[in-house]
Amino acid sequence: MILELLAVGLVVSAFLAVYLDGAVYSVASLTCTFALTAILYSLNDATFVAVFQLAIGVGTLAVLFLSGEMLSEKPSGKKPLKNAFLAIAAALLLSVPSVFFSVGTIQTGASSEVSFPKALWNLRAIDVVLQGLVVMTVALGITIVLYGKKEGEA
């Protein structure tokens, strides 16, 4: 029952994050989506990932998005309330397959339990490459921002 409610909440909040006009409301819906995803992970025995999702997803992205919202244009006019109810109804309709249909997993004869630290150790090469990519991306981002600032001053 809880999983079904979570699934419905996830779909509805994700739909509202895309549908709503105001950036703050979209960000709030997206934060809800991230929080519900973290709860879903913790219910599926992926506690570490749930905490990681909460820390990174809810905290950092919410701050980033709100700072982006401060500099974006405000929406002109308000949508009528009827449209909001129609959107929620459409989202509830979209969430019906997640409640009534389930995907079963095929258990193979050779399934072995791989612990999380062992899995991380096995993926250390990819981890190093991706972390390097992350650092390069951050450096690129800082360069772009400083270049934009320099152009603005010039």
Partner: protein
């Protein structure tokens, strides 16, 4: 993922496009984690950590670009930005033609 693709195709605000991309990425990583936990393997969780950290940095970069675009052009609408670029190209062409005429004179 379907909701993210819908937002990517129909929304014109850069922030909404970014939210849609985030939803698609979250759907893909959720797929990894839930399948891995159903099959009792931790590989999917490890993948999520790697993918999520990369995705967060890419999001930060896109937000930085959004801030620059918003400050420079005063809008985040893709259609208006495309028109602005068209007008800029036309203006530059006109300036180039005037310069040729002035050089001839």
């Amino acid at each position: 993922m379907a909701i993210g693709i819908y937002g990517l195709l129909t929304k014109h605000n850069l922030l909404k496009v970014l939210i849609s991309v985030e939803l698609i990425a979250m759907a893909a990583s959720m797929n990894f984690v839930l399948l891995a936990s159903a099959m009792n393997k931790a590989l999917g969780e490890a993948f999520l950590m790697l993918a999520f950290s990369t995705d967060t940095c890419v999001t930060g970069i896109i937000l930085a670009l959004l801030v620059i675009v918003s400050k420079k052009y005063g809008t985040c609408d893709i259609r208006k930005l495309a028109k602005l670029e068209q007008y800029r190209a036309i203006e530059n062409e006109a300036k180039g033609d005037n310069k040729i005429i002035e050089d001839d004179v």
